[in-house]
């Protein structure tokens, strides 16, 4: 009996070790991002030559990104603003679309329709990003050039539209879950008081699932800000704080993916600076996830009692 309980203990520890793999993985990712990004700020030695680092605030708030220049400049504000704008515009499209789809699925759709629409949303989610980027490049870009009197077909608007369709499924599935978990007695109460179905949805169900909806929105935005292939292929690549939705922009992931191939490994400022951008990107998505997690925990819906 003793050996049996010992065996159980060993197995339990084995599983615990496996479960810790995620912590280890995240830890390793952070370790490598930080160690490869630090020389950007601390300076480094390459082949006996001493390079001095740049200040963290100069890096974040510098408004010139000119890695290859007689006087290189390492300000990533244009890249951050590129990411922010692309994410915001795509959210303007994706949030209403995603939440309305979720409401339809959870509250209105007849069973038969839901059984078709739900898989459809999941399939939309599974489309590889490179295919969406390709579509934006060969179909949407010429179309935009045709429709508007603009100079660049691959631009912020194009990237935002493409990103929106990648964020919609994320928003829809989380939002639908949270709408679904609103207890039925709330709906029944509202309907019994004479409210229409829409009034019930608008004034009872949606407010009750607000925390889930915010989580959905945050995770959807987090997905947009980190998406790489789409912005690499259709955002246009100009490192510049945009002044119009038709300006080409260079969001952070695009800059990393486009430039990493041409830097010298661990030899030049450019290489380390790209890791520093990756670190900034990681921190942003990390904060988004923490926020989502916090909201989900703090305002956890536990039946009707919590409302």
């Amino acid at each position: 009996m003793l050996s049996r309980s010992l065996k159980e203990k060993v197995i339990r520890i084995g599983f615990l070790a496996c479960a810790s793999a995620s912590i280890l993985a995240l830890g390793l990712i952070m370790y490598f991002l930080i160690t490869e990004a630090l020389p950007t700020f601390m300076g480094f030695d390459a082949m006996g030559e001493k390079f001095s680092g740049i200040g963290f605030f100069d890096f974040i708030f510098g408004n010139q990104w000119k890695p290859v220049s007689e006087t290189p400049q390492w300000g990533i504000l244009p890249l951050i603003m590129g990411s922010v704008w692309v994410t915001l515009i795509s959210s303007v499209i994706a949030i209403p679309l995603g939440i309305m789809t979720a409401v339809y699925l959870a509250e209105i759709a007849p069973n038969k329709v839901r059984e078709i629409v739900k898989p459809m949303v999941e399939l939309l989610a599974s489309l590889p990003s490179v295919v969406i980027g390709f579509f934006g490049m060969v179909v949407v870009a010429p179309l935009l050039l045709e429709l508007f009197d603009i100079r660049f077909g691959v631009n912020m608007l194009n990237a935002s539209i493409m990103l929106a369709f990648m964020a919609v499924p994320t928003i829809t599935s989380i939002a639908e879950d949270s709408i679904h978990s609103v207890p039925d007695e709330l709906r029944e109460g509202s309907l019994a008081l004479g409210a229409t179905r829409f009034e019930t949805i608008w004034r009872v169900v949606l407010p009750a699932s607000l925390s889930g909806l915010s989580t959905a929105v945050i995770l959807g935005m987090s997905r947009s800000i980190g998406e790489t292939m789409v912005v690499l292929m259709v955002a246009g690549g100009a490192a510049r704080i945009p002044t119009s939705i038709f300006d080409p922009v260079r969001p952070m992931p695009a800059s990393i993916a486009a430039e990493m191939g041409e830097t010298s490994f661990g030899l030049e400022m450019h290489y380390f600076a790209l890791f520093a951008i990756a670190m900034v990107l990681f921190i942003i998505t990390f904060l988004f996830n923490l926020l989502a997690d916090h909201i989900a925990h703090k305002y956890k819906q536990v039946g009707s009692a919590s409302l």
Binding site: T101, V117, P119, V138, V139, F198, P207, P253
Partner: protein, 310 residues
């Protein structure tokens, strides 16, 4: 919040439901909003339909048996995509083989062993965050950790199948944990109680009772994660992919071609993006068919499962 909701309701309630023009107006409001909701769904459907439709319409003429089974020729300007299919096959299956045992074991710990507490909260937080890490960051991590050999502690595998599989494995780990946990959750507690009651140990219960009943759900999850790995581009850009390597990899330390990278490379950096447009559409169609097909299988599998349970 409950205060607010109830006062609102009284206001609405005092409107004397079911009579007169106000009810009509409210019905009209409802109908117009519902129409809007339906339109939102239609837009999503349309987007899927248009994207897939384009790939099918322009890609189908490019696809033939030769296209699928021969090597690219003329430096990738013509010929087939067999090495890309094989490369994607290796990368997705390899990463799954690495991540599945780890992911299922994690899920078992989280669902069967762990008690709610700080440690559990931390693990969950890590899994959620891992799921949210941008794929290009995974790519850089893979490059620094698996590919490079440096004083920082890189493993020095070079750009290779092995490095790509490991990077992708980390990327799909959260997907596998999530779906496996859901599968475990769907196993009724009565099964466990019965097994424990018969004198089985916890491990025996998990291995002989819980896992077999959760297996279809886990299978669904692994199909989903294969499709995720198959479509991933940014994570293999710096860790596994070559734009032209028509010979199949001889060992796991060779570079491979892969479908998603091939689309990117043909459309962006190949010699002649115009002339290879049919190839690009063809390759996209193959990738889309592969990924959507696997997802469809997973969806059908899951719906059958749910029906069986309920």
């Amino acid at each position: 919040m409950s205060e607010m909701v109830s006062t609102e309701m009284t206001v609405n309630g005092s409107n004397i439901p079911g009579t007169g023009t106000s009810m009509l107006r409210r019905k009209i409001t409802q109908e117009s909003w519902f129409t809007l909701f339906r339109a939102a769904v239609a837009i999503n459907g349309l987007a899927l339909f248009i994207i897939v439709g384009y790939m099918v319409y322009y890609g189908l003429p490019a696809i033939s048996w030769e296209f699928l089974t021969t090597q690219p020729t003329e430096g990738g300007l013509a010929g087939g995509i067999f090495p890309c299919i094989v490369g994607t096959f290796y990368l997705s299956l390899g990463s799954m083989a690495l991540a599945l045992p780890l992911g299922v074991a994690s899920a078992i710990y989280l669902h069967e062993y762990a008690t709610p507490g700080l440690f559990m909260r931390i693990i969950r937080l890590c899994i959620n965050n891992l799921a949210g890490v941008p794929s290009v960051v995974f790519g850089l991590f893979g490059m620094a950790f698996f590919v490079a050999a440096r004083d920082l502690g890189g493993l020095g595998m070079g750009v290779s199948v092995a490095a790509g599989c490991m990077t992708l494995a980390v990327l799909i780990l959260p997907v596998i944990i999530g779906t496996s946990e859901e599968a475990l959750r769907s196993v009724p507690d009565t099964y466990r109680e019965a097994s424990l009651g018969l004198g089985a140990t916890k491990w025996q219960t998990i291995f002989k009772v819980v896992l077999p009943s959760a297996l279809p759900g886990i299978l669904t999850g692994s199909i989903l994660s294969i499709s995720r790995a198959a479509g991933e581009t940014a994570a293999i850009m710096f860790t596994a992919a070559a734009s032209y390597n028509p010979t199949l990899p001889g060992s796991i330390f060779d570079e491979v071609m892969a479908l998603p990278y091939q689309i990117y490379s043909l459309s962006v950096s190949s010699t002649d993006p115009e002339a290879t447009l049919p190839l690009q559409y063809g390759t996209s169609l193959v990738l889309v068919a592969l990924v959507l097909g696997m997802n469809l299988i997973a969806i059908l599998l899951r719906s059958r499962l749910r029906k069986k349970l309920s």
